[in-house]
Amino acid sequence: MKELLDRAISGDPIAIARVITLVENGEEYGIRLLQDLYPLTGKAHYIGVTGAPGVGKSTLIDKLIWHLRSRGEKVGVVAVDPSSPFTGGAFLGDRLRMQRHATDPGVFIRSMGSRGALGGLARATADVVKVLDACGFNFVIVETVGAGQNEVDIVKTADTVILVIVPGMGDEVQIIKAGIMEIGDIFVVNKSDKDGAQRLAKELEAWIEFGYEGSGWIPPVVMTIAEDGTGVDRLVSEIDRHRAYLNDSGELKRRREKRVMEEINVALGESIKRRIRDVLEDEVMQRYVSEVLEGRRDPYSVVEEILGKLTKGGV
């Protein structure tokens, strides 16, 4: 294990990829690896890019990578697409738009399925980001499924959240209704050559002015055309400005505290579930189910009983 880790930390892509797989699968071994890597994390700036399907996130990230690389940064990308809730499979097509960076040793792109995680963002994604952080990528960009409200999950992971919208999708009302606006640190109006882009940007700015009065950070609205890279240089400087703000204001510390709290809670929940799964025999579970169906007891008392057995040291 030490050898695999050493190779990953020194930048060997096969080793990095293998560590990511182990971590993603959530096995014991993967967790040990994460424990060893943990002290090396905390150096990268995590950027979350979210928005509805088709707004141009992948194309935008492709341009972002180019900009960051041209100033010598090493960039990791985690592109999450939905897994089928029925088959468990996934069509992972985001990296298609970033493929010109495929052979650049300073870029590592990994595609992931959401694997049934609620909130649109796989639990494992946060762990994969840590692997890339520990292995020397100083910017790690996470692209999420962008299905709407579920994007709130990304806030728990990212330092800077970029919300991408496009004119003409009736987005503005949807977004405001869903409260998604509150999670964006930077708003991008992409496909800004289309009709309605200016109006959308103005509406956004008005809403921001109303909602963020007195805040330390007023989210900027950046107009881009990801296809040809227009506006991306401004996006990069806003990312830099946000990073400086996070550091200067102490906000970074607050966010990371929240992140660690969330991590511990999630890991705790998963560990408990795993332990119960390991010791709770199928026949015992089947008996509980029959008792509930026959009306002899309710599900909540079943849970109490199982938990009681767990804390007493085994079922």
């Binding site: 892509p13 990511i20 990994r110 694997r115």
Partner: protein, 132 residues
């Protein structure tokens, strides 16, 4: 869902412009529970191999309609070996004359799937080869 998924990379090397077949296969494999990384058109062997490494895939599926299958298979296999990723299995589909198949297999291509091969056959082959 903490289980090992089969990961497949599907790519079209060179100048082929038609990717409908490759996409059909990609979606078919997704429908049987695999994670399919689709890298699209005009990929160089270097891009294909580097992507396969980063994505830690079990199988690379090349889709070649242009007739240059032998060149691309050879190059991809060379690069995989060079970079220490020789464990990744290579299969190829598209327009491949049957007389070329033995040569391809000798090179190290695990299987050749002609036009009209049912997805279930592709999926089953992949499942078997990954088990080994």
């Amino acid at each position: 869902m903490n289980e090992r998924k089969i990961r497949v990379l599907i790519a079209k090397p060179g100048l082929d412009g038609h990717d409908r077949g490759a996409k059909v296969v990609a979606r078919g494999l997704r429908d049987v529970g695999m994670e399919v990384i689709y890298t699209g058109l005009r990929q160089t062997p270097e891009q294909i191999v580097q992507s396969a490494i980063q994505e830690d895939v079990d199988v690379i599926g090349l889709s070649v309609l242009s007739g240059a299958h032998e060149y691309y298979c050879r190059r991809v296999l060379e690069l995989l070996r060079e970079k220490g990723a020789g464990h990744i299995v290579l299969v190829v589909g598209g327009v491949i004359p049957p007389e070329d198949i033995p040569r391809l297999k000798e090179m190290g291509v695990a299987q050749v799937f002609g036009p009209g091969t049912p997805i279930s056959e592709v999926a089953e082959f992949i499942r078997q080869v990954v088990k080994r």
